[in-house]
């Protein structure tokens, strides 16, 4: 079925369409665009002692000349990149398995892979302390077989990394599996028929069709990781802190909304970069 050309649409119906679209657009403008503009304006016009608000980059200069803030930005980028790398390493084989395997075991694996989606992160955080924390289940099991205790990742930068990887597995696997839908069984079988080894098969047949979904994973999870709050808050070290907890603390405890908005703007700039990456990946896919 083909879509009717636009010119056929009667004027009154066009108005109805616009009205229908207006609700989400207005909501988006009100709840997203307006806060961004308002926040940006506040961050760029620091309040002076006399109450005036001239345009100035003072807040940003303060941020980038403060080693404490920079360390927080650094740990955020470090956590995001490490988590992303681990996610790809874990989830690509998992997605390949789920795409090609059949039978009962695959169903169980899929259930396990989707399970984290239904666990709230605050529950996950406390379970993490129980399992991987000091004298947690991992330690008890190791101790039972006479092995030394692990050095717990709890309250170190690796705590949030492990938690975030586990939390993000379902979304990553879902996106990758849907991307693998583009790989037809015929193409795989044809390559096998001419004697392609598994690695060659992956490299020449599967990977080229997966790139878009990998790009989507990179941008989606990076956005999610940048915005993460609960896991770094509960599992991470006191210092340096990730941008999420840092912003919240600046806003609420230090009662400094201007600096919190500055931190939010800087975080936003990084997220926009990944957002653009996503848009390009999707646009390129449409073009094909």
């Amino acid at each position: 079925m083909t879509a009717r050309p636009v010119s056929w649409v009667q004027p009154s119906r066009r108005l109805t369409g616009l009205l229908l679209v207006a609700v989400p657009v207005l909501l988006f403008a009100w709840m997203t665009i307006w806060p961004i503009l308002s926040g940006l304006t506040t961050a760029l016009t620091p309040q002076q002692a006399d109450g005036s608000r001239p345009l100035s980059f003072d807040n940003f200069v303060t941020f980038f000349s403060d080693p404490y803030s920079l360390a927080n930005l650094g740990i955020t980028l470090w956590t995001c990149l490490i988590t992303l790398g681990l996610l790809l390493v874990i989830c690509i084989p998992l997605a390949l398995y789920l795409r090609f395997a059949q039978g009962r075991l695959a169903t169980y694996v899929q259930t396990m892979a989707m399970f984290p989606m239904f666990v709230p992160s605050i529950i996950l955080a406390f379970a993490f302390i129980r399992v991987l924390g000091p004298n947690g289940m991992a330690d008890l099991l190791l101790n039972a077989v006479g092995l030394p205790k692990i050095r717990s990742p709890y309250l170190t930068p690796w705590g949030p990394v492990i938690g975030l990887v586990w939390d993000n597995i379902p979304l990553t696997v879902l996106i990758l599996v849907s991307g693998l839908g583009a790989v037809s069984n015929q193409a795989v079988e044809a390559a096998r028929d001419v004697g392609a080894k598994p690695l060659a098969l992956f490299w020449h047949i599967i990977l080229p069709r997966m790139w878009t979904s990998v790009a989507v994973v990179v941008s989606f999870t990076m956005l999610g990781l940048f915005a993460s709050f609960t896991l770094p808050y509960v599992l991470g070290p006191a210092s340096p802190e990730m941008m999420g907890p840092f912003m919240q603390r600046t806003f609420r405890d230090l009662r400094n909304p201007e600096m919190a908005l500055t931190q939010a703007t800087i975080t936003m700039v990084f997220c926009i970069a990944f957002g653009l990456f996503y848009v390009r990946a999707v646009a390129r896919n449409r073009g094909n």
Partner: protein, 382 residues
């Protein structure tokens, strides 16, 4: 067509009636009670105080309303103040815990009843807990040290700040406190260090005397004290992100001692989160800071007299005992007015003084100062 028009107009009237503000007045003998506290407090009132009060006062009942949070209850207080100016019914009689200084001007306008003059049990109230005559401190909680008696016998437990520091250094990795902004147990541990650095004189810190220079002068020595013990803390200087996580680490036997809220520790022991062998101790040279919850009675409430009876009732030995046993809180009355067996059981944690630390700008200065000066200065892998 007529039928449809009728339907539409009838529907409109019905909807309008639903949307109309419903005018109702408070029921006679039913105290409209609001709280902004946590669920455990509402549960305690629902299951303990309300049934006991209703049994003791036939004809009176309590309408327990959860205001959600402080902002929710402030809105009720604002409404009561407005109702006072128009002489209407505020539909509120009692706030479980409130600051009579809020909303601004309410106390001067006479919104809250002077409880010192109105309550027969006021003389029982612990004088250390009284802040104003307009609010009755009926339950409290204080930070103290919770420790594992299987690793540290009660006889050897440190009872002064100096002993505590010596113990922490002699037992590296066995103590942890939470980040000062993430929970009161760590927050008041840090405040105790600030008191220690300034001659153990809590009167040096008031809400009004904050200036950045004064804060710098008084806080910097405290950061030195805390940095000094940092390498001997759990995992070479780790800090949990909340009261609960510290309790969890003590429960998992990962550390030997933590600062903890009294009610949280007592409740933890009662529910098995902390083992029976958990000991509690308060420092004797200067106690950790704490806080009291203070109830207020609204002077323009329709059931003011009943509400005053309730305020008197929560100070009775029966309810104060329940606050200790069931809630794990501190009594609002002096310990002399608590049942003798309870007084003996908890004699180790009865404070001789209840220091407090002002909030406001001090809170922000302490949080920011600690994060910048204490949290990062440790090489965790050393």
């Amino acid at each position: 067509m007529k039928r449809r028009a009728f339907l539409i107009s009838a529907g409109g009237v019905a909807a309008g009636m639903v949307l109309l503000p419903r005018v109702s007045s408070a029921a006679e003998g039913k105290i409209d009670w609001y709280t902004s506290s946590d669920t455990n407090i509402l549960d305690f009132w629902t299951n303990v105080i309300a049934p006991k009060f209703e049994a003791a006062n036939p004809g009176l009942s309590i309408n327990l309303i959860d205001a959600g949070d402080g902002a929710g209850q402030d809105a009720i207080a604002d409404r009561a103040l407005a109702a006072m100016q128009t002489s209407t019914d505020p539909q509120a009689d009692y706030f479980e815990t409130a600051d009579p200084l809020s909303p601004k001007g309410a106390m001067e306008a006479g919104l809250y009843v002077n409880l010192k003059e109105s309550l027969s049990n006021w003389s029982k109230v612990n004088p250390l807990a009284i802040e104003t005559d307009f609010a009755v401190p009926y339950r409290g909680s204080q930070v103290l040290l919770a420790y594992d008696t299987t690793k540290l016998p009660a006889a050897d437990v440190p009872k002064t700040w100096d002993d505590l520091v010596t113990w922490i250094k002699a037992n590296p990795g066995q103590f942890i406190y939470n980040r000062p902004d993430k929970g009161g147990s760590g927050g008041n541990f840090v405040r105790r260090a600030i008191h220690e650095a300034n001659g153990r004189d809590p009167s040096l810190f008031t809400l009004d005397n904050f200036t950045p220079e004064y804060a710098e002068k008084t806080l910097a020595p405290a950061w030195e004290i805390l940095n000094d013990i940092a390498p001997s803390l759990f995992d070479n200087g780790a800090y949990t992100s909340g009261n609960t996580q510290s309790v969890q680490l003590l429960g998992q036997s990962a550390v030997t001692m933590i600062p903890a809220w009294s009610d949280q520790a007592l409740q933890g022991i009662a529910t098995g989160v902390l083992p029976e062998t958990t000991g509690l101790v308060q420092l004797t040279d200067l106690a950790f800071s704490g806080g009291f919850s203070r109830g207020v009675v609204l002077s323009n409430g329709a059931n003011k007299d009943a509400a005053l009876k309730l305020a008197d009732f929560v100070l009775t030995e029966e309810i104060q005992g329940a606050i200790i046993v069931e809630l794990g809180g501190f009594p609002g009355v002096s310990w002399d007015n608590v049942a003798e067996d309870l007084r003996n059981k908890y004699k180790d944690i009865v404070p001789s003084s209840i220091p407090t630390f002002p909030g406001g700008d001090w809170g922000s200065a302490i949080s920011d100062g600690w994060y910048r000066n204490v949290a990062p200065n440790v090489d965790r892998n050393a």
